[in-house]
């Protein structure tokens, strides 16, 4: 189906673009919190990629319904992986933010170049 095919590719392109937007933020922004936000966008893009993989044409969420035969289900495995990855991502973020708070206390700023200059 042409439309589904287009949508499929579109998903991947959105993934690529979102990925690099996040990465760009991490690399080029000096503000530490901005970097962390970029990191979280970067990670979310990866989640999108995995979940895109799991869809099956005409399928539905992989919860087996009693008494319904011949139901097509979408792939459950990427979902499991992403559940884990989301949690890992939020844990990393929490740690990162704790570090930023401490940096602010010790340096008085959270802009990268000012920190480098201070040392």
């Amino acid at each position: 189906m042409k439309l589904l095919e287009l949508l499929g590719y579109f998903n991947y392109w959105v993934f690529a673009i979102t990925l690099v937007i996040g990465l760009y933020a991490v690399i080029s922004k000096a503000n530490l919190i901005k970097k962390l936000i970029g990191l979280s966008i970067f990670q979310s893009a990866v989640f999108l990629m995995y979940i895109t993989m799991d869809k099956v044409e005409g399928g539905t969420a992989p919860i087996i319904q009693a008494g319904v035969e011949d139901q097509i289900y979408s792939n459950p495995l990427p979902q499991v992986l992403i559940l884990t990855a989301i949690v890992v991502g939020v844990s990393t973020l929490a740690l990162g933010l704790a570090i930023v708070v401490r940096i602010n206390e010790r340096y008085g700023t959270i802009e990268e170049h000012e920190i480098l200059d201070a040392d």
Partner: protein, 326 residues
């Protein structure tokens, strides 16, 4: 129809991402990030990933936003403009994007049931779950049983983050204001949030518990439940002031939850070994292997929920309790 909607969502996603990066006001960025998470969650739902959508909404839009905001309150609100360096970064990421897009043309098209990813392992899970474990939610089955070891690892990741934040923020901030300001009274003076909030908190906690125990039958499970219950308590803290929240659920309880949850999970694994099976092989937990599986899953999901809830709340309190810089 749904395709158009999906296209729309995805485009919105990109636009939001660009807006986040370009905005100089950090507060705006954080709120936009929360919207970004919600868009993601909606997308996941369209792609048939119900559990993930729930988790992303609870964790991404909810908890992440709260933690970001607490950190923002302790640091700066605006980002300073920085000169130079952008072109190189743009160039580098542009190349990367092109590379990835190039690789996509060989990928199996979306939804193709013949794609390798849907062969082999996935159909086996779908077929065999009724036979071995007999719970409807296959995702929970994989998460808690087939790949339970990964989930154990994940609980420990949360645990690590929790003790990490406690460790890092366990140091007193350098300056204390001369007179300690009175404990924050939360939003006590605002009537509407009070009324609505008080109505919501018990429902949120109840919903969280529902998600916890119903995780085998529908979307849900330990992580989502832990996050939702934590959100309920955080709402309470916002309304009544952090001190009250600490009285309701004291730090020692939180710590107990975190450690207990992690140990519970690991403990079940060891018990399985002691009873003759492999680590985390629940079938040996009772005479009927299928019931054994279900029992094991219930227990470890409880462990996960406890650990996640305790950890998230501990992290929240660690941030919220800090005096902000004058």
């Amino acid at each position: 129809m749904i395709f158009v909607f999906a296209l729309f969502l995805l485009t919105l996603l990109v636009i939001t991402a660009i807006a986040i990066v370009r905005s100089e006001n950090l507060f705006v960025s954080v709120m936009l990030t929360s919207i970004f998470s919600l868009l993601m969650a909606a997308n996941f739902f369209i792609l048939d990933a119900a559990d993930v959508a729930l988790t992303e909404a609870a964790v991404g839009a909810g908890i992440t936003t709260v933690i970001f905001l607490s950190a923002l309150a302790l640091t700066a609100e605006r980002e300073k403009r920085r000169a130079g360096g952008q072109l190189v970064a743009l160039g580098a990421v542009g190349i990367l994007a092109a590379l990835i897009i190039y690789a996509t043309f060989d990928k199996p098209r979306l939804g193709d049931p013949e794609a390798p990813v849907h062969q082999h392992v996935a159909p086996w899970y779908l077929e065999k779950t009724p036979e071995y474990i007999d719970i409807p939610n296959v995702v929970t089955a994989i998460l808690s049983s087939y790949r339970g070891y990964d989930t154990l690892g994940e609980v420990f990741v949360v645990f690590t983050a929790c003790i990490g934040v406690l460790f890092i923020l366990g140091v007193k901030p350098p300056e204390q204001p001369a007179d300690r300001t009175a404990e924050s009274g939360g939003l006590r003076h605002h009537l509407i949030p009070q009324v609505v909030g008080r109505l919501l908190v018990p429902f949120i906690v109840l919903f969280g518990l529902y998600t916890q125990f119903h995780g085998e039958y529908g979307p849900g499970g330990g992580f989502q439940a832990g996050a939702i219950i934590a959100t309920g308590v955080i709402l309470y803290a916002l309304l009544e002031g952090e001190g009250e929240a600490l009285r309701a659920v004291p730090r020692s309880v939180l710590l107990g939850l975190v450690v207990g949850g992690a140990l519970l999970f690991g403990g079940v694994g060891i018990v399985c070994m002691l009873m003759g099976g492999a680590f985390l092989d629940y079938s040996v937990l009772s005479a009927d292997p299928v019931w054994g599986q279900q029992l094991g899953i219930i227990i470890i999901e409880a462990g996960v929920g406890m650990a996640v809830c305790g950890a998230l709340l501990s992290i929240f309190h660690a941030f919220a309790a800090r005096q902000s810089q004058p």
